[in-house]
């Protein structure tokens, strides 16, 4: 964890800065807050876990961090830019370039091959075809799937699918990798392999990783664990 220990408290080092973020859902006449003034700073190169029981606001927090949704109140800064009031199309562009998602359900497109799945985010960024393919192949080799490039997701095991998803998350060189229960659908052995890849990305490539999980064992891979309850951080554990 050499890199993690060198981090400073300099403001410009913050990749992500959530300031008093509220998200309130309206169910009929009742207003239900999912986030109640969440404050969170994520620094460049940090590996962070967010833990909490279901209903704690984990998923909502993840949506905010991943620019999938905008807060009802409060501000979110991504690399110093306020994204809390952006339009969906602008958010899409930011997601495509800055955030790499890894989901519990893998979320690969079943009609496309592993290679095509990895190239997809690059298509959305208008990257030239040849460059796309070269990069996707390199990333698939990185996750040890060089021999499975032309397989469809249904022809791959869960662990392999999640590794395709990791390759896909890396393809646009994102600032932040956002993993939502990345091992939730995997047995402990394959889950361990996937975690090894994530840790490798953090340690060797210096990627910023934010991982949402309810598995304490998995969460312990991170430098810092934030505990969430009722839409707020209630506890922080640093390594």
């Amino acid at each position: 964890m050499a890199r993690a220990t060198t981090k400073t408290e300099k403001k410009s080092d913050a990749v992500l800065d959530l300031k008093g973020v509220w998200k309130i859902y309206t169910m009929g006449d009742v207003e239900v807050p999912a986030l109640s003034g969440l404050d969170l700073v994520v620094k460049r190169g940090e590996f962070l876990s967010i833990m909490g029981p279901s209903g704690s606001g984990k998923s909502t927090a993840m949506n905010m961090i991943g620019c999938l949704d905008v807060p009802t109140r409060g501000k979110i800064y991504l690399e110093g830019h306020d994204i809390s009031s952006m339009s969906e199309s602008d958010l899409a562009q930011i997601r495509g370039r800055k955030i790499g998602f890894i989901f519990q359900q893998f979320n690969l497109i079943n009609t496309l091959t592993a290679l095509e799945n990895v190239t997809l985010p690059m298509i959305f960024q208008n990257m030239p075809r040849q460059e796309r393919i070269t990069k996707a192949k390199k990333l698939l080799e990185l996750v040890d799937l060089g021999d499975r490039m032309h397989h469809k997701p249904t022809e791959l095991s869960g662990g392999q699918q999640q590794r395709v998803a990791i390759a896909r998350a890396l393809c646009n060189d994102p600032e932040v990798i956002l993993a939502d229960e990345p091992t939730g659908n995997l047995d402990s052995k394959t889950g361990g392999t996937v975690m090894d890849f994530l840790r490798k990305l953090h340690e060797k490539e210096g990627k910023t990783i934010i991982m949402v999980t309810h598995d304490e064992h998995v969460a312990k891979n991170a430098d810092r664990i934030e505990f969430l309850r009722d839409g707020k951080i209630i506890k922080t554990i640093k390594k």
């Binding site: 991943g66 949704d69 899409a92 562009q93 997601r95 009609t111 985010p121 959305f124 896909r168």
Partner: protein, 412 residues
């Protein structure tokens, strides 16, 4: 990028083959109907237009109206044209020549085989030359008829071919062959040059007097009186004069004529307008079918949006903008339309040319022809693509507006 979007759309469509084909059925039935029926209609128009060589161009045709039975022109008229009218019409000013023309069915026997054919009259004397010039009558084998000929005829080019006619009679006819018309022996002295019209190619041309003498035609049932005008520019005036004369002669009031005086042009126009009406009708039916097909596409695309909500969410999380999602679904529905169109064009072409070929083999007639223009083909393809996209706009818009968070939460 559009190319990549096309590939993604194609993959989505091929994943759901059954539904894709079912959706396209509506489109390709419509397109096939348009191609086949408009194509055959065009062919029919071309075929019929070519038949008008019977009269020539600077000529007026007089026919009795009020047909009581099906058959050659004038044969079934209640009050047929009599043989003396031509001489009288010739006296009208502006008329250079007027003569009777007969067209009758006749039994042709050759090589011990019998078939019903058409016999067409050739007048004698100076009118013979007038007619030959008028319709540009030439032979490809043998010679034309002369006033001195007795029991001699000309036959159309199809009789001399080893095609359907050759098969019918066992072998092709040639100049010098003897044929039996309604039981009377005749000699073929010439084969008429091919003109692509059954009036020439599929008929027996014979002397008018002999046609009457041997009972092939009834002298007092003239099919058409051909009137050659001395000045083409005066043709309208001459037409009115003939109409006035015939009203008096046949004792009918204006507006109740039991005859018609037409230029080949006007006859052609009235025929064309009828054909256009038929084609328009067919087109309207086809358009209705295409609209139903379009709604089918819309339905399929709405289903696809629902079914692929999760996929849309994934794509959005990977950086797809609303416009990207819209384009993807838009292309997919456009492809549904266009592939449907391509299948429709192929089916339509096969049907049209198949019908034409069947018509030729079974009926031995060139009348059923297919004529499908490139503009019709490309027009149909463009239309089916536009139709697909037009009906895809709303589903594609709906897809593009989906909220990424909610879409991602979908289980499937």
């Amino acid at each position: 990028m559009i190319k990549d979007y096309f590939l993604i759309a194609v993959k989505s469509l091929t994943k759901r083959k059954t539904r894709t084909y079912l959706t396209m059925i509506g489109i390709f039935i419509g397109i096939a109907a348009v191609i086949a029926l408009i194509g055959l209609g065009e062919g029919l128009r071309v075929a019929i237009t070519s038949q008008f060589g019977f009269l020539g161009t600077d000529v007026l045709g007089v026919q009795a109206a009020g047909v009581a039975a099906a058959g050659p022109p004038g044969s079934g008229a209640i009050n047929p044209l009599t043989s003396d009218l031509a001489e009288k019409i010739e006296k009208i000013s502006g008329v250079e020549a007027a003569f009777n023309r007969y067209l009758s069915a006749v039994t042709l026997e050759f090589n011990d085989k019998q078939k019903i054919e058409f016999a067409i009259s050739i007048p004698s004397g100076t009118n013979r030359k007038t007619l030959e010039k008028m319709v540009n009558l030439k032979t490809s084998q043998g010679r034309l008829l002369t006033d001195a000929d007795r029991k001699k005829v000309l036959v159309g080019d199809n009789y001399a071919q080893d095609s359907s006619f050759g098969t019918t009679f066992g072998r092709p006819l040639k100049a010098g062959d003897r044929i039996i018309l309604n039981g009377v022996d005749f000699e073929v002295v010439g084969i008429i040059e091919k003109k692509g019209s059954f009036i020439f190619d599929d008929a027996v041309w014979m002397d008018e007097d002999e046609m009457i003498e041997y009972g092939i035609s009834d002298e007092e049932r003239v099919s058409t009186i051909a009137v050659k005008v001395s000045d083409v520019n005066e043709i309208g005036k001459v037409q009115l004069a003939i109409e006035k004369f015939l009203r008096k002669e046949r004792g009918v009031e204006e507006g109740e004529e039991d005859f018609s005086v037409e230029t080949p042009q006007s006859a052609l126009e009235s025929l064309n307008s009828t054909l256009y009406a038929v084609q328009l009708f067919v087109t309207i039916i086809a358009v209705i079918s295409l609209l139903v097909g379009g709604i089918g596409i819309m339905n399929t695309m709405y289903t696809a949006v629902l079914e692929r909500t999760k996929e849309i969410g994934i794509m959005k999380s990977l950086g797809a903008r609303n416009s990207t999602i819209f384009t993807l679904f838009f292309i997919e529905s456009g492809l549904l339309g266009m592939i449907g169109g391509i299948i429709g064009v192929i089916l339509g072409l096969s049907f049209a040319y198949g019908a034409a070929a069947a018509g030729k083999t079974l009926l031995g007639s060139d009348l059923i022809q297919a004529s499908v223009s490139w503009s019709l083909i490309f027009g149909s393809l463009a239309f089916s693509f536009i139709l697909g996209t037009a009906f895809g706009v709303l589903p594609a818009y709906q897809a593009s507006r989906l909220n990424p968070v909610d879409s991602l939460r979908k289980v499937k």
